[in-house]
Symmetry: C2
Subunit: 135 residues, 2 copies
DNA sequence: TAATAACCTACTAAATCGATAGGTTAATAG
DNA sequence: CTATTAACCTATCGATTTAGTAGGTTATTA
């Protein structure tokens, strides 16, 4: 299941990407429009800023804005930052690999074999889609 | 993330499917071989029996056995029973659909659009794979 | 200097996860 | 008939995660 954090993050980024001008968008505006708790959204946008997706400006007229072009922001990148690993088990994760404490041998593990396929197909979809595709 | 429940369940089913004879396999044997807490595994095999994947026999020489051929057991079916929905958001789930309380319109929701693609690609992989493929 | 909006820290209620504990029931062996 | 075996059932539990809330501080603008 996708966490609300990730879901809200994607919605917020889409909202910002949809803006005709490149003017900063305020958290409050996104929160109201997308039915998200403003405080919760604040923490999410902060993460996205620290991860290099967004820039910010304080004070009146401030807000968040995209740093890169929507078409250059892959969904894999967004989801990895907000949700963590895309793989369903750590032992097939490319960016968050971890060995299973059960499972003596990954090569003979049935789950491993299956989850590599799931990972790859998911990766294909999320790698092909950019923020521009969601606009 | 895949829960241990599902992971263990798949491993156990694979273990049973690998048996040369169709003799019942005991929980204790699977637990030991696959490094799974026996009590936890008991509860998982019970679910799989109640869902129609396994038959059981009590007493000495008892255990669990497959009811259908491994090649006739799709991974989608197993995962739906143990893990629940395959979709990453309830609003794109085929078997566990639920409307999002935020999101007034699914048609214009960016997350919805994306997650349908993820769902379909995952469904393809899990639908193509049967227990026989994991053996 | 006041208002604004991002930024930061800490806390919390509820749910879920991965078990563990301690039994009961049904089938088999002797 | 009795003991053993292994599935079956019920309850509980500590740890972690989730989705927030509360209450402030800092930087920018009018």
């Amino acid at each position: 299941m996708l966490s609300k954090k990730t879901k809200y993050g994607i919605k917020a980024l889409t909202f910002i990407a949809r803006q005709p001008e490149r003017n900063p968008v305020q958290t409050s505006e996104i929160a109201k429009s997308e039915n998200i708790s403003q405080k919760f959204l604040e923490s999410i946008l902060l993460i996205l800023r620290k991860s290099g997706f967004l820039g910010s400006k304080k004070g009146k007229g401030g807000g968040y804005y995209l740093i890169k072009e929507p078409k250059d922001i892959k969904m894999t990148a967004i989801i990895r930052v907000l949700e963590g690993p895309i793989a369903m088990v750590p032992c097939v994760s490319l960016n968050y690999y971890e060995k299973c404490d059960d499972c003596p041998d990954e090569k003979t593990c049935s789950v491993h074999k299956l989850m590599i396929q799931v990972r790859d197909s998911t990766l294909n979809v999320l790698g092909d889609n950019t923020l521009a595709d969601l606009t």
